[in-house]
């Protein structure tokens, strides 16, 4: 019973945080693009005359989406048409359950909380399975709309997501080989060691090539610029062309959720998750000998803070990329995925394996 309450509370915290952050993303997108392009950005929405830099535009958007007419095209499969956006949001949300966002919180002798909603041994597989199931939302949206444009867009999106999933999956193999686990919690813990006593043993240092491939492929997975061929709001007809109102809003939300998901994964796999350099469960141990002991609670909170900061920095980076790069052409997209990322990721796995064997021989 106690465990159930704790798990429910953890799930509540994670989903509350993630959904708010996704809503906040609309504001970040508006303001960041404005700053990049020397503009001011949306700042007119106000509540009782308070504008707060236009932070209420997200609320206004949601209100607009909810009150808009919901149009189901003639001849469309009503059930599937409704299910498609629900699937998209559901699978994007559910994947967050396996992300560890902090170290073990020790409340008493027999009450130790893992700051991870679902502690799964093969968490990495689970996350990737859920991300792959996101394709269903896309293809269903195209199929159920009873529109040739939508189904073409859906097929395009599916082809893109499946092509990049291969590079994404193979790039992860290198990381799994180095740390020897698929449990995300253990994987983060394994990144807590130091190389030579001062360099954190993070994935980005042990697998830099895998990191770049992962980032590219994951960006393509989220269907955002420069890989936004399936969506391309105003120029290209995509899979959700027949959607309106909050159903469209859900696809939009999925977009932001997937961006956060990718940021979380990149942090967990390559940037040490909740690890802070030189911080061990009983305090800081700096390489020059200084020490700073601290209690378990402070240590865990620092970890959560570290994780959130890294995720926010990644989200900022993705947004910056989105406003810097132009869109790929469809053939460029495919040749980058199959002729570029795929061979490099395979080569990365082979080289990693060889190096690991040689290192094992030396020891």
């Amino acid at each position: 019973m106690e465990i159930l309450i704790i798990k429910l509370a953890l799930a509540g915290i994670v989903f509350f945080g993630i959904l708010n952050f996704a809503g906040f993303h609309t504001w970040v997108e508006r303001k960041q693009s404005a700053l990049i392009q020397d503009r001011i950005g949306a700042n007119r929405a106000s509540i009782f005359g308070f504008r707060f830099l236009g932070i209420f535009h997200g609320l206004a958007d949601a209100l607009k989406m909810f009150t808009k007419e919901d149009i189901v095209p003639k001849g469309a499969d009503k059930t599937l048409h409704l299910l498609a956006p629900l699937f998209s949001v559901f699978f994007a949300l559910v994947a967050f359950a396996a992300i560890p966002f902090g170290d073990r919180l020790i409340l008493s002798e027999n009450l130790v909380i893992d700051l991870q909603v679902a502690k799964i041994d093969a968490a990495l597989l689970y996350v990737f399975a859920m991300l792959s199931l996101g394709v269903y939302g896309v293809i269903l949206a195209g199929f159920a709309s009873h529109s040739n444009y939508a189904i073409m867009g859906g097929l395009r999106a599916t082809a893109q997501m499946i092509s990049y999933e291969i590079a994404l999956g193979i790039s992860i193999i290198g990381v799994i080989m180095v740390y020897g686990t698929m449990d995300l919690g253990e994987l983060v813990r394994a990144q807590g060691h130091l190389i030579g006593g001062w360099l954190p043993f993070w994935g980005v240092l042990t697998q830099p090539v895998a990191f770049i491939i992962f980032l590219t492929a994951a960006l393509a997975e989220t269907k955002r610029l420069p890989f936004d061929l399936p969506e391309g709001e105003s120029e290209i007809v995509g899979y959700f062309v027949e959607y309106s109102g909050m159903k469209f809003g859900m696809f939009f939300l999925t977009d932001f959720l997937e961006t956060i998901m990718v940021a979380c994964l990149a942090t967990t796999l390559f940037f040490g998750g909740w690890q802070v350099p030189f911080l061990t469960p009983n305090g800081f141990h700096f390489p020059w000998g200084a020490e700073l002991p601290m209690s378990n609670l402070v240590y865990v909170l620092l970890g959560v803070l570290s994780f959130s900061t890294k995720v926010i920095i990644f989200c900022w980076f993705f947004m910056q990329l989105r406003w810097s790069l132009p869109r790929f052409r469809y053939d460029q997209l495919m040749s980058l995925g199959w002729k570029g990322l795929f061979p490099i990721s395979v080569a990365n796995v082979i080289i990693t394996a060889v190096v690991l064997v040689f290192l094992g021989e030396i020891q």
Binding site: Q32, A34, L35, I36, Q37, D38, R39, I40, I212, Q320, L321, W323, S324, L325
Partner: protein, 209 residues
């Protein structure tokens, strides 16, 4: 016949790698991002206001500065006793290519002035803002320097300015009461001539030069 050789540069190895070029692009956008973020924060505490953080002009709140020769909405210049400087010579009405000016002249009690406008209407829905009326005027009685740009109305009738609005650029439709003392025709009185010159002469001048 000369042949123009168009060179089509091939991408170099570093450009084909994508990543250095992406980083170059990110450098540009990030430079803008951090510069503007920093400037916005400095502006918030009231510093470095002379360095703009954005090119946006928040239009209804702030207006873009106009050139001094910019032709905006018309106005009639005034004499010291708050009567129009216009002498009803009809030059502006004659020169107007759009035929948007309507003047009804009346006799002025001062023999040196001879005439004045009983009625002076400009239909802004027809006006082409050429500024010929300003150039034609021998008395500097009409100018286009009010800086008013937001001329819009829901009907053609509302686009017509009468002598009240032309003499006082601050007035906006709907005009409730007539404050002019000299005899004039206006829409408020259904085209009847109202006011007398005695009233004007009785009112003391606010400032006499």
């Amino acid at each position: 016949m000369t042949v123009k050789v168009v060179s089509r540069p091939e991408l170099t190895f570093w450009e084909k790698l994508y990543i250095p070029q992406i980083l170059l692009g990110l450098k540009i956008t990030s430079a803008h991002f951090f510069r503007n973020l920093f400037l916005h924060m400095l502006h918030f505490v009231g510093r470095f206001k002379h360095l703009p953080a954005s090119v946006t002009v928040q239009y209804p709140d702030e207006l873009r500065p106009l050139m001094s020769r910019f032709r905006s909405r018309h106005r009639l210049t005034l004499r010291e006793d708050k009567t129009p400087r216009c002498v009803g010579c009809m030059l502006c009405e004659t020169v107007c290519p759009a035929k948007c000016i309507t003047i009804v002249p009346g006799e002025h009690p001062d023999p040196h002035v001879e005439k004045y406008p009983v009625r002076f209407d400009i239909d802004l829905g027809v006006c082409v803002y050429c500024g010929y009326c300003v150039e034609a005027c021998p008395e500097d009685a009409i100018r286009m320097d009010t800086g008013i740009l937001d001329i819009a109305a829901y009907s053609r009738e509302a686009m017509k300015l009468d002598i009240h609005e032309l003499m006082d650029p601050k007035l906006r439709k709907p005009i409730k009461n007539c404050s002019l003392k000299f005899p004039h025709q206006c829409n408020l009185t259904d085209g009847e001539v109202k006011g007398t010159w005695e009233e004007v002469n009785e009112t003391p001048l606010v400032e006499k030069t």
